[in-house]
């Protein structure tokens, strides 16, 4: 199947007064149509910047695409002008954000906000668009959709707002939906409902999804493949099964170790990864994770490892996967 999205060697930097922040440094991502790719990583690893760059939502300047290519449904995004982006946004690709409380316009009726999106991309009369908006609200399981469409966001609960956001995002049947931590700001019970909803809608609409999250539980539920990002680079990429059962990169393993399980003793300290991510004003020469890695070697500090294949469709950037590495290969 043709890829909906192709990101190759993407470098994004922010020019600030203190210097250049190398936020994204050589990211490769590919998403087939209908696929769900989870991008995980801790705060500041560049996952949101990557996502927003796909839609060119980052204000430029200060953001700047230094290098690389983004191809969305055959369209070159890097060279696309603002007019072309306006056409692409909301139609080919749309996005839902982390905090549904602040993402809807507080002075515009929810229905109207969806109608606006529809009318922006489709030639529909006001009544048709309104009907469509109500149908969408019903699709995301909002009760009394017709009545709710006439209400303002402050009359919606957090979960309902996120549903409305999803309805809005899917209103023009985009090829790709980017969900930037869609459940982080919600209650745990609501989180489950929203994830369930996204799983159902994905089946119905066949939309590919990029799911950005730091919640590995969410990943296991919904994703087909996972990309683990750290300090602006993809460290490991593979199927959910690969990542959870055969992690090939020490960072992925450390992440998984830090997940509390149901058997974790109440009194026991939660496992954390010592140290802090590297300074992205001056990224390290070698492997970004070297300073925090329990399996670090001399080589790692001076040289950045390339991507090695750890299995079919499973790649990781670690010297230990080098064919000449004498020790036992992790992950297999």
């Amino acid at each position: 199947m043709a890829d909906v999205l192709n990101i190759e060697n993407l470098h994004v930097s922010f020019d600030t007064y203190a210097g250049e922040v190398h936020a994204v440094r050589g990211v490769d991502l590919h998403i087939a149509s209908g696929e769900v790719l989870a991008v995980v990583g801790e705060s500041g690893c560049g996952k949101s910047v990557t996502a927003q760059t796909i839609m060119k939502l980052n204000p430029m300047p200060p953001a700047r695409i230094k290098e690389g290519s983004i191809t969305l449904d055959g369209i070159d995004i890097v060279d696309a002008g603002e007019k072309q982006m306006e056409d692409i946004r909301g139609r080919l690709v749309s996005m839902i954000f982390q905090d549904p409380m602040t993402c809807l316009n507080p002075t515009m009726k929810v229905g109207k906000q969806i109608v606006e999106t529809i009318q922006n991309h489709q030639k529909l009369s006001r009544e048709e668009a309104h009907k469509e908006a109500i149908r969408l609200l019903e699709m995301v399981q909002i009760p009394n959709a017709a009545q709710r469409a006439e209400e303002y966001p402050h009359q919606f609960s957090g979960g309902m707002r996120q549903r409305a956001m999803i309805a809005m995002a899917l209103s023009c049947k985009p090829k790709l939906l980017i969900a930037d931590e869609p459940t982080t700001a919600l209650d745990v019970t609501i989180q489950a409902q929203i994830m369930q909803l996204m799983a159902t809608l994905r089946k119905e609409t066949g939309t590919a999804i990029i799911l950005i999250t730091h919640d590995l539980g969410v990943v296991a539920n919904l994703a087909d493949r996972v990309a683990v990002m750290y300090a602006g680079r993809v460290m490991e990429q593979g199927t959910v099964r690969d990542i959870f059962y055969h992690p090939a990169h020490p960072y992925t393993r450390a992440l998984l170790r830090s997940l509390p399980t149901i058997d974790t003793d109440r009194g026991a300290q939660l496992v954390s990864i010592p140290g802090t991510p590297p300074d992205l004003y001056a990224p390290p020469e070698g492997c970004e994770f070297a300073s925090r890695c329990s399996e670090c070697m001399k080589l790692c500090r001076a040289n950045r490892p390339p991507m090695y294949t750890a299995g079919e469709g499973h790649i990781a950037s670690c010297w230990k996967l080098h064919p000449d590495y004498p020790g036992e290969k992790e992950g297999r």
């Binding site: 839609m55 939502l57 603002e82 982006m85 306006e86 056409d87 692409i88 946004r89 909301g90 139609r91 749309s94 996005m95 954000f97 905090d99 602040t102 993402c103 809807l104 316009n105 507080p106 002075t107 515009m108 606006e116 999106t117 922006n120 991309h121 303002y152 402050h154 956001m165 809005m168």
Partner: protein, 314 residues
């Protein structure tokens, strides 16, 4: 809703009562006498005059009588011209009102557009230019602005062109109303534009603007439909007191341009100890301000659906 309005009206009346009390007693501290002017007055005549207007009574009694009269809608008699104060107000306030409305419209429209322009073109020459105008507007008082306008647009322009475009004084032709309205509005326009700019910048960096952008709306749609609508809310709150200030606060400008508005009578009243005129106009201005603020508060609930006034649903 009604409970809220009634409560507000009660507080308004209370405010006005204290206002009367303060002006009344402070006025008694003023040196001089309304009937002592340039020429000497016979002490016997003076005493008679005092008795006639009740000024010989103890101050507390005068106060009670005044308050009772006010309740009946009687603001007293002008001690100089012997005309009822209410009549003077009725004749001169419409002029002040018109001047105020003209300034308010000008200040709001110009302030609004300057603010939006500065915010949208943030960091460019447009922004600097708009904020420079605002800085001048805030720092130059209206009477200096008035004098400058009179000199350049009234006097110099006439000298250069030989055509009297803007009359220097008066309040009769359309053209004569432009300069005073502009002079009066300049300060408000400056404040409004700065407030609008700040508010607009704030809104444009909010999450729902990003959502609007992600929907594929054009920049103009985002700015006008999602940005301005939300950014204008704090400006509306500010507009209430500002409107009241413009409608009532033109004393100096009215004097400079020789406009027969209420402000002029107020200033003259203070100058010659015209007690009833001072309390009457102060009371009128005060009541006007209080009512204007109340109206703005109620309007706010209409513009911003999140605001449900206390006592309403939810």
């Amino acid at each position: 809703m009604w409970k809220y309005i009634l409560k507000r009206i009660f507080y308004s009346i209370l405010t006005i009562f204290f206002l009367i009390m303060l002006t009344f007693f402070m006025m008694q501290l003023l040196p001089g006498d309304p009937f002592v002017g340039d020429k000497a007055v016979d002490p016997v005549v003076l005493e008679e005059l005092h008795a006639k207007y009740g000024l010989d009574k103890p101050v507390p009694e005068q106060f009670v009588r005044y308050v009772l009269n006010v309740c009946k809608g009687d603001l007293g008699i002008d001690l100089k011209t012997k005309r009822p104060i209410t009549q003077t107000i009725a004749e001169s306030f419409p002029i002040s009102f018109e001047l105020g409305i003209r300034s308010l419209i000008f200040a709001s429209i110009m302030g609004f557009f300057l603010g939006v322009l500065a915010a949208v073109k943030r960091g460019t020459k447009w922004d600097t230019g708009a904020m420079l105008i605002a800085l001048i507007g805030i720092s130059v008082p209206s009477f200096i602005m008035g004098a400058i306008l009179q000199y350049f647009l009234g006097f110099k322009l006439f000298q250069w062109t030989g055509v009297r475009v803007f009359p220097i004084l008066g309040w009769n032709t359309e053209m004569s109303k432009l300069l005073p309205a502009f002079a009066l509005s300049f300060g408000s326009m400056a404040s409004i534009s700065r407030l609008m700019r700040t508010s607009m910048l704030d809104v444009m960096s909010s999450d729902y603007i990003k959502t609007a952008k992600a929907k594929g709306l054009s920049r103009m749609q985002i700015i006008w439909r999602h940005g301005v609508r939300n950014a204008v809310l704090p400006v509306v709150t500010f507009l209430g007191p500002q409107a009241a200030a413009l409608l009532t606060g033109a004393f100096v400008v009215e004097n400079i341009f020789n406009i027969p508005g209420l402000g002029k009578f107020f200033v003259i009243g203070v100058q010659n100890n015209n007690y009833t005129m001072i309390t009457g106009t102060t009371l009128f201005y005060g009541a006007f301000l209080v009512v204007a603020n109340l109206i703005v508060d109620l309007l706010y609930g209409v513009i911003d659906p999140r605001v449900k006034l206390a006592g309403g649903k939810e």
